[in-house]
């Protein structure tokens, strides 16, 4: 066994221990430790990715050296390693992008607590990505929820407490359903390891036994994760939670937390139940319907919103709808499109949040739509970054959003019954996206009268004065352009990784 193969386990443990260590450090050192840990884990995951691509096959890491049906396992394939690298990059950029807001909005003595949450969140995300055991996945889902709740309420205002409470309530409903689904599956198959459950599920399907309980288990798990990742009718907690928490939290929550759950759902579909059984069960049709509804309704809500952060948050609802619509197509191409959209949305949405904070800073911290007039001239880098993010969301060629919409459209061709609905929904959703994003871009590039700027006391912000945020913005823009212009290797990686899932 090569030493590299230990890295996934080491990276989970490293982030897990960095959390408690942060609690005894002061804010500054906790931040340094956190950034160091994220960098090290990113590098280790990249090494694992290189190793897995080199050998061309996945490997199983047994915890405590107990063999398959008894012990707990980590499974590493290309998709898992690639996701881990990507999550580390996004998390690093989110943490450095929001440094100024965090220091202003969080009490001095509580700075280090923030990094406990970030470390634990990274740990749970890595565990969700790598684990091969369903119950371990449930435990880390709960850790993920708790640390996400901490990220929301660390900025102590009434709004964030209310948002955190609503988030917890919806999340707990979701994890209750997920837990029940896992228990059903355990009582049906007698296993908790994903690969063993899959074998038994195939046997059950072939013999026709316990057809309804299996269906119920699939439904419970899908709905549970759909609630937790804010699929359309369950999104009510989302705008408050993203809109009022501190900048890094909003960026991390929108780009990583919900994506971790969705990745777990992909694993459940492919590695626990088997995609053929899922397709036959028709559960994906329900996900498809709600995904399409989310695409439209999320955008409609975003158009009605005047607060820029809440607008971006509602746009997340629409994008989550895209991902579930891709699942609902029931083809491998649809799944690849969805996973690509996970990546593209994570890169774009965190860019938009960071850029929006730059724009509001140049407008006297006001988030009101009309105060943003001309903000693109007062903070040039943030204005440019927001434009890039908006174009990507709308699906302008060259940016990542275009590729994911193209993939969705191509995938829809593979499903005769859903092609019309998908195409119409895509078209409507793109127009709606364009309405509210382009409206904002035009607003920030409409020159404001000099007297009004003087009157309201808006300041110009120079990119050189905020090196951390500017670096994050430039990296996000580069990431978006990379995903948009050089999408072939990324899609190839996802395709290869999905093949390994079977």
């Amino acid at each position: 066994m090569a030493f590299v193969q230990n890295f996934p386990f080491i990276s989970i443990l490293l982030s897990l221990f960095a959390g408690p260590i942060s609690s005894v450090l002061d804010g500054k050192w906790a931040k340094r430790l956190n950034l160091f840990v994220i960098t090290v884990i990113g590098a280790m995951s990249a090494a694992v990715l290189a190793f897995v691509i080199g050998t061309g096959q996945e490997y199983i890491f047994t915890m405590g050296h107990f063999p398959a049906p008894w012990g707990n396992e980590i499974r590493v394939g290309i998709l898992e390693a690639a996701m881990a690298v990507f999550f580390c990059v996004i998390m690093f950029l989110c943490v450095i992008g929001g440094v100024l807001e965090r220091e202003a909005e969080i009490e001095e003595t509580k700075q280090n607590l923030y990094y406990i949450m970030v470390n634990l969140l990274l740990c749970s995300l890595l565990a969700l990505i790598y684990t091969n055991d369903l119950f371990t996945a449930y435990v880390f889902v709960e850790i993920n929820t708790i640390s996400a709740c901490g990220l929301i309420m660390i900025r102590q205002t009434g709004r964030t407490f209310e948002a955190a409470t609503r988030y917890m309530i919806m999340s707990l409903l979701g994890s209750g359903l997920l837990l029940l689904g896992i228990c059903f599956l355990y009582s049906l198959t007698g296993h908790l390891l994903m690969s063993n459950i899959k074998e038994q599920a195939a046997v059950l399907q072939a013999s026709g036994q316990y057809h309804i309980p299996l269906l119920v288990a699939i439904c419970l798990m899908s709905v549970g994760i759909a609630i937790k990742s804010a699929l359309y009718p369950f999104h009510t907690w989302l705008p408050d939670a993203y809109g009022y928490s501190t900048l890094s939290s909003a960026a991390i929550l929108s780009s990583l937390v919900s994506k971790g759950y969705i990745f777990l759902l992909v694993k459940i579909f492919y590695r626990v139940i088997g995609f053929d059984i899922i397709r036959e069960s028709k559960v994906i049709n329900i996900l498809f319907v709600f995904g399409v509804a989310g695409m439209i309704m999320g955008s409609v809500n975003a158009i009605r919103e005047n607060d820029i952060n809440r607008m971006i948050a509602y746009s997340s609802v629409a994008q989550i709808g895209y991902i579930y619509m891709g699942f609902g197509l029931g083809t491998t191409a649809g799944m690849i499109a969805s996973i690509y959209h996970i990546v593209s949305h994570a890169a774009t949405k965190s860019l938009l949040f960071v850029a929006a904070s730059g724009i509001t800073d140049a407008s006297g911290k006001s988030r009101d739509f009309f105060d943003l007039t001309g903000a693109g001239y007062r903070n040039k880098l943030a204005g440019a970054a927001f434009t890039v993010g908006s174009l990507s969301m709308v699906g302008f060629p060259m940016f990542s959003g275009f590729i994911s919409k193209l993939l969705f459209a191509q995938a829809a061709m593979g499903n005769k019954h859903k092609v019309m609905i998908t195409m119409i929904a895509l078209a409507i959703s793109v127009i709606l996206n364009a309405v509210y994003f382009m409206k904002t871009v035009i607003r920030i590039y409409t020159p404001e009268k000099r007297e009004v700027i003087m009157d309201k006391g808006f300041e110009e912000i120079n990119a050189w004065e905020q090196p951390a945020k500017s670096t994050a913005l430039i990296c996000f823009i580069a990431l978006n352009l990379f995903l948009g212009l050089l999408s072939e290797p990324v899609i190839g990686l996802i395709q290869h990784g999905l093949e390994m899932f079977d």
Binding site: F135, Y138, V139, E142, T145, I146, C149, M153, T157, G158, R159, F161, E162, A164, T165, R166, M168, I169, L172, L173, G176, L177, L179, L180, C183, Y186, S187, L192, Y244
Partner: protein
């Protein structure tokens, strides 16, 4: 559906009914404390379900006593382990929810979540 099947598995039926009660309470109650109680009922019902699935009639707890090593003498220990893990999770989540409730109550002097939302809108933050 056989009604007879339903009757012999009445324990499972009870646990599912409890799950429904807990779920609806968590979703629909306005009072935060009642929501938390509902959440605990929901979690506990899942543990009841798991414990039932692990129990095998006539066998004893999986602790080796009197030197009996045979597997046939004991119940399935894994669901018990899952229940223990689940209890730890639900205790920590309950603690977090209660802490949040205290913060909200100290600020707004009410436990009604909708009323808190109305107060927040009045604050206009």
């Amino acid at each position: 559906m056989d009604f007879a099947n339903f009757l012999c598995n009445y324990e499972e039926a009870v646990s599912m009914i409890l799950f429904g009660i807990g779920f609806c309470n968590l979703l629909m109650q306005k009072n935060l404390i009642k929501k938390i109680v509902g959440m605990n009922i929901m979690d506990t019902s899942v543990y009841l379900f798991l414990a039932l699935k692990g129990y095998i009639a006539g066998r004893r707890a999986p602790i080796v006593t009197d030197g009996i090593q045979s597997v046939e003498a004991y119940i399935n220990p894994i669901p018990s382990g899952l229940v223990l893990t689940g209890i730890v999770v639900s205790v920590s989540v309950t603690a977090l929810m209660l802490a949040l409730t205290i913060r909200l109550y100290n600020r707004y002097h009410t436990l009604d979540l909708d009323e808190i939302s109305t107060l927040l809108k009045k604050e206009g933050l």
